[in-house]
Structure formats: structure tokens, C-alpha cells
């Protein structure tokens, strides 16, 4: 009897099964690695290694025929900052500023549009909610380029939208709404709206309405109720929305190229040109890294600022 119990199972009945030997910490940890391995391998192959390659290439030189000459240089970064063959130019900084403005405006406008939409969907009966959510993601079923061409048609001189705009005196008669900064903005907004609506909706759906009632009960105005009882609750969803919109919008080149008619150069287009028509991979890599770095810094500031912010 005493032999069965052993020293470890103090007073535990012999019927109690002891699993200690099977699931030791080491084994659990080993099993954890096993399950995580496919994902880790994926990350290593398709994120970390290519990322490192971009870093390495960004410090190399471009050969005469667009090949990579394996000699270290900082020239690509100097060029990215605006120091070209013909001296310093503001072109790259302007493209960056335009990108920041376009991406920022897209994010803000999308959030403003998404709030009523998310609340509308969340307030539908459960069954029809899925229908509305499907409608929100329906545009994804069509390729981005095709959607851009659709906008070109819709904004062309003869389209009803353009005629309406010209009859309202917003544009000259016979003129097209595309290509223009407006067309880019419209294209970006429609592209990214679902990315804002979906995370926001998931927050709104779980909203604790008793906090809204508490704010109203404590004499808060509509504005104060919104910023104190609703915004703090949807902030996690809103953060996801901002990241999912702002970050890809910064590197977007399809919409600006197609709907801007190549007249409005954004950072994304610069990178695309470097890798594409210019066949200058080291310069493209440097531009990409600068963009990644700026985005990371921006997100860091957002996190820092977003945490301590006293809303209204």
C-alpha cells in the first residue's frame, strides 16, 4: 500500500491517477513548438527571410542592366531622402506628404462613414445582419483593378455622376471627374471602407449599452455620451480599423495610378516604379524600408498617444 502511494501522492487515494510523468513542462513545451512549427516556418520563409533580403539589397548598388551589384553603399537612402543626380529635390518628400495626406484623409473619412454604418448593421435583427455584412464585403469579390476601371467609367465625362456634378456647378461642363485627386480619394475610400466597418462593427456589436445609459443618467450631452461611453468601448476595434486602413493606404499604388492618371505621385507609386520600369531594386528596397520604418514609428506614436488620451 505504502509502496503504491509513494512519497509524491501525499494522502491521495491510490485510485487517483497521477499524470505528472506524461505531461512534464518540457513535453508540453516541445508539443507547443510542434504545433507552432508550420506557422513559424511560414513566417520565416515568407516574412523574415524576404525582409532580410530587402534590407541587404537596399544597401547594394544597381548594375547597368538593372542587376544588383553586391557592393555596399548608402546612396539609395540618400536618394530616397531627395538627393538625386541633379541635386536635392523635394519630389520624394512631396510624394510622402501626399501619401500621408491621402492615407490620413482616407482613414478619417472612412471612420466617419463607418460609424453610422456599423451601428446600423449592429441594430438590425440578427438574421439580416449577415446580409448587410455580406453587402459590405461584396466589393472584395471583384479585383481591385477592375473596381478602379469601374470608377473610371462612372467618373467619365458622359456618366450621370459627372453630369450631376457639372449641373451642380462643381465641375465645368464636359469635363471629367477623373483623373483627379478627388477620384483617387473616392477610390481609396471605397477600397478601405470595409476594413474600417468590419472591426468597428465587431466592437459595436459587443457594446455595453448600460454605460451609455449611465452617461445619460449623469447629465451627459449627446457628444459627451458618445466620446465617454461609446468611443472608449470601440477603441480596440477602431485601432484595428486604423492599422488595416492607414498602413496599406500608405503603400497603395493601383488606385492612385489608375484614377490619378499618373499625375499624383504617391510613395507606393515611387516604389512600384523603382521595382518596375526603372529596374532599380536597391533604390526600391531602400524606399520600402523607409516607408516601413515611418509606418512603425507612426503606429508607435498612435499607441502611446492612444493610451493616455483623455477624450473630451
Amino acid at each position: 500500500m505504502t509502496a503504491v502511494r509513494g512519497s509524491r501522492s501525499r494522502g491521495v487515494s491510490p485510485l487517483t491517477v497521477w499524470y505528472g510523468e506524461l505531461t512534464s513542462r518540457g513535453r508540453l513545451s516541445a508539443r507547443g513548438w510542434l504545433f507552432a512549427a508550420p506557422a513559424l516556418l511560414w513566417l520565416l520563409l515568407f516574412l523574415i527571410l524576404p525582409g532580410l533580403a530587402v534590407v541587404v539589397v537596399s544597401f547594394m548598388q544597381r548594375g547597368q542592366y538593372g542587376d544588383i551589384v553586391w557592393q555596399g553603399t548608402l546612396e539609395n537612402y540618400s536618394r530616397a531622402a531627395g538627393n538625386g543626380i541633379f541635386g536635392f529635390s523635394f519630389d520624394n518628400l512631396l510624394a510622402l506628404a501626399r501619401s500621408l495626406w491621402t492615407a490620413g484623409l482616407t482613414t478619417v473619412l472612412a471612420i466617419i462613414l463607418a460609424f453610422p454604418l456599423a451601428f446600423f448593421i449592429a441594430s438590425r435583427p440578427e438574421k439580416s445582419r449577415y446580409l448587410w455584412l455580406t453587402l459590405v464585403i461584396l466589393p472584395f469579390w471583384t479585383n481591385l483593378v477592375i473596381r478602379a476601371y469601374a470608377w473610371m467609367l462612372l467618373l467619365s465625362p458622359d456618366s450621370p455622376i459627372t453630369r450631376l456634378a457639372s449641373s451642380l456647378g462643381l465641375v465645368e461642363a464636359g469635363a471629367a471627374l477623373y483623373p483627379s485627386a478627388f477620384a483617387i480619394q473616392l477610390g481609396m475610400l471605397t477600397t478601405f471602407l470595409p476594413f474600417v466597418v468590419l472591426p468597428l462593427y465587431s466592437s459595436v456589436e459587443r457594446l455595453d449599452w448600460s454605460l451609455v445609459e449611465a452617461a445619460q443618467d449623469l447629465y451627459a450631452s449627446r457628444t459627451r455620451t458618445f466620446f465617454q461611453a461609446i468611443v472608449p468601448q470601440v477603441l480596440p476595434g477602431l485601432t484595428v480599423s486604423v492599422i488595416l486602413t492607414f498602413v496599406p493606404a500608405m503603400g497603395m499604388f493601383v488606385i492612385p495610378d489608375l484614377l490619378g492618371g499618373g499625375k499624383f505621385l504617391l510613395v507606393g507609386s515611387l516604389i512600384q516604379q523603382a521595382f518596375g520600369s526603372s529596374r532599380d531594386w536597391p533604390y526600391g528596397a531602400a524606399l520600402s524600408l523607409v516607408l516601413v520604418l515611418l509606418t512603425l514609428i507612426g503606429l508607435r506614436i498612435y499607441r502611446r498617444y492612444g493610451k493616455g488620451v483623455e477624450l473630451v
Binding site: 443618467d217 449623469l218 447629465y219 455620451t225
Partner: protein, 370 residues
């Protein structure tokens, strides 16, 4: 004169109606709550008590009727302009704000001067022994502390009426009793009108000046805890508050009058049955007496079916035996049991035969339910 004044200053509900689809949550309900009164809306879940509270607070619009406070019609006003605050069942503290900011919320909404806010919040926190927690966030507090923050937040703006929606339901039983007494003391000290919603009859008895028993969106009875408990007006109230024996009965004399009634337990004598002819009688379990010998009046011979020891008292379930006074053809005693609550003394065994007495003063004739 004083009576009219306090009535005028109090809360008055007139003919309130509320429907949710097929559910008639509040039916033509009128109620006057005096200023400085602690009134409890008591009833089972779904009786309309929470809906009534939400109509008073302004979260729900009544389909009909009026809400008057101090003679002023509040019916169409939104919650954020009513001088009425609520302590929510979930407390609904703002998770992103500290205890201090939570309590200050109402004052900030009203644009009270900063210095004044600081002073008032500090006072409120001290009053509820929360001084040490001012900089904490709600998730760092225990249930009892959260509840006190919710109270402080609702009281700091000095509302005319404080509504409490089952505020004790998240607290454990021991803390609950303590908090109930504390709440009553606080209410007496401040003199604010408190309206509490609960389904817990003990809680209602402990804290209230008056209890309003609700069922099916209607007031069943309203009165002091003593009145409601000792003289329940109908079957629902008698069963909902405490343990009661309900005995069907009818008058013996066809012309009415007389104090004798016929029941399955035999002939019983009532103290007073004015205006009552037939229906149900209620006898509280603790009012049934167990006697060693046959009592002179309203005696019932019975067998002990069950005996449960509760420490403070003994709960006995009796099965009445056929009585010689029962007329032939009367209703049988089959399946009828008598609940008795008595002092835990004396040997009382299951199967033993005892005499029980239903004292005339303890028999309450009930009205048909409204």
C-alpha cells in the same frame, strides 16, 4: 398641509402603460412616492419592476401615463435632464476612468467649477469609505467597492430621487445584509427619495419604508413591511413574502356574517371576516402553534411528515388527520400539508402525531387576485 406638500414634492406616477410587443410589462400603474421615502418595488422577474424603474429614469418611454416629480411633468424628458440618478445592476462604471473621475462624471457633465468638483467628489468618496481608492480603475475593485463607487457617483450630484436596480445581486450573502443596513442608514441621513427594485423579500423588508409588490405589471399591494407581511391582501403576496399556508375556505352561514368557516382542515374560527365570503385563507408558518394537548380553538390533529433543523428554527411539515368536526361530504385533507416554523426545542419525530393550532388572529382572508 404638510402631507400635500410632501406629496407635491414627491414622485407621482399616473396611469403608466408599457408594452413590448405582446408583453404588457406595465398596466395602468399609478403610484405616489413621498419625498424622502425608501420605497421598494418587489416582485419576481418579469413582473415589470425594472421596466417601471427605467420609465422613471427616462431610459424607456411609457406608452401612456405620466411621471411627475414635485408637480413637474417629466414624461417626455430625456434621462440626462431628469434630476434622477440610477445605480445600475451591473454598476456600469466607466472602465477607462478612475474612481475619482467616475464619481466626478455627473458634475463634469453639469459644468460645475473644478474646485467644487474636487470638494464634492472627495466628500462623496469619504462618505462611502472610498477615499483610498480614488486613483484606482474599476477593474481593480471588489464587487462591494464597485457598488459603493456606483452609489457615490449617483449621489454626488444630489439627485431628488435615487433609483437602485437590484444593486445587491452581485454581492455575496453576508456582505449583502451589511450593505442593506448601510444603505438604509445612508438614505435616512441624506433624506433622498430611494426607489429600489428587487426580487429578494428579505432585502425589501430590511431597507424599505414601504414595499410595493408587483406582479403582471400591476401593483398587488403597497404598504409598510409589517402590513405587507402580516396582512397580505391576496394569494400572490402571501406566497411571495415568507412561507404561508394557503387554505381554501367558505363561509358556513349562507347569509354571511358569523366568524366560522369551513375548510379541508375542519371548521375554523376567524377573528374577522367582514365582507369576505369564500376564497383562500393564509396562515404564516411561524404562526401555527404546536400543542401537547388538544387546544380549545381551531385545533388540527396532524402527523409529522418532515422535520428540518435550521439552527434558529425548526421547519416541520404536517399532514392533517381527519377531524371529527369535518362534516360529511366536505373536502378531504388528502395531499394537503401544513408548514410550521417553530422554536427548535423538544423532541419531535417524523411519524409522531401532534396537535396544531391556527390562532384566529393569524388567519388572513385573501382577496381574489387583481
Amino acid at each position: 398641509m404638510t402631507a400635500t406638500l410632501t406629496t407635491l414634492k414627491g414622485l407621482k406616477l399616473e396611469g403608466l402603460q408599457k408594452r413590448f410587443g405582446d408583453l404588457h410589462a406595465v398596466r395602468d400603474l399609478s403610484l405616489e412616492i413621498r419625498q424622502g421615502e425608501f420605497l421598494t418595488l418587489l416582485g419576481p422577474s418579469g413582473c415589470g419592476k425594472t421596466t417601471l424603474l427605467r420609465i422613471i429614469a427616462g431610459f424607456e418611454l411609457a406608452d401612456g401615463g405620466r411621471v411627475l416629480l414635485g408637480g413637474k411633468d417629466l414624461t417626455g424628458l430625456p434621462a440626462n435632464v431628469r434630476p434622477i440618478n440610477t445605480v445600475f445592476q451591473s454598476y456600469a462604471l466607466f472602465p477607462h476612468l478612475t474612481v475619482f473621475d467616475n464619481v466626478a462624471f455627473g458634475l463634469v457633465s453639469r459644468r460645475v467649477a473644478k474646485l467644487e468638483i474636487g470638494r464634492k467628489v472627495k466628500e462623496a468618496l469619504e462618505m462611502l469609505q472610498l477615499g483610498a481608492f480614488a486613483t484606482r480603475h474599476p477593474h481593480q475593485l471588489s464587487g462591494g467597492q464597485k457598488q459603493r463607487v456606483a452609489l457615490a457617483r449617483a449621489l454626488v450630484t444630489e439627485p431628488q430621487v435615487l433609483l437602485l436596480d437590484e444593486p445587491m445581486s452581485a454581492l455575496d450573502a453576508k456582505l449583502r445584509t451589511e450593505v442593506q443596513l448601510e444603505l438604509r442608514r445612508l438614505q435616512k441621513r441624506l433624506g433622498t427619495t430611494f426607489v429600489l427594485v428587487t426580487h429578494d423579500q428579505d432585502e425589501a423588508m430590511t431597507v424599505s419604508d414601504r414595499i410595493c409588490v408587483l406582479q403582471g405589471g400591476k401593483i398587488q399591494q403597497i404598504g409598510t413591511p409589517e402590513q405587507v407581511y402580516a396582512k397580505p391582501c391576496n394569494r400572490f403576496v402571501a406566497e411571495f413574502l415568507g412561507a404561508a399556508n394557503l387554505i381554501p375556505a367558505k363561509s358556513l352561514s349562507p347569509r354571511g356574517g358569523g366568524r366560522e368557516v369551513e375548510t379541508p382542515l375542519g371548521r375554523l374560527t376567524l377573528e374577522d371576516r367582514s365582507g369576505w365570503d369564500h376564497g383562500t385563507l393564509a396562515v404564516r408558518a411561524e404562526n401555527v402553534l404546536l400543542c401537547p394537548t388538544r387546544p380549545a380553538l381551531n385545533a388540527v390533529k396532524a402527523k409529522v411528515l418532515e422535520r428540518v433543523y435550521h439552527g434558529t428554527h425548526l421547519e416541520v411539515l404536517l399532514e392533517p388527520l381527519a377531524l371529527e368536526s369535518r362534516p360529511p361530504g366536505g373536502e378531504g385533507t388528502a395531499g394537503f400539508t401544513l408548514k410550521v416554523r417553530t422554536a427548535p426545542s423538544g423532541p419531535l419525530e417524523v411519524g409522531e402525531e401532534v396537535w396544531a393550532q391556527l390562532p384566529p388572529h393569524a388567519i388572513v382572508p385573501l382577496r381574489e387576485e387583481g
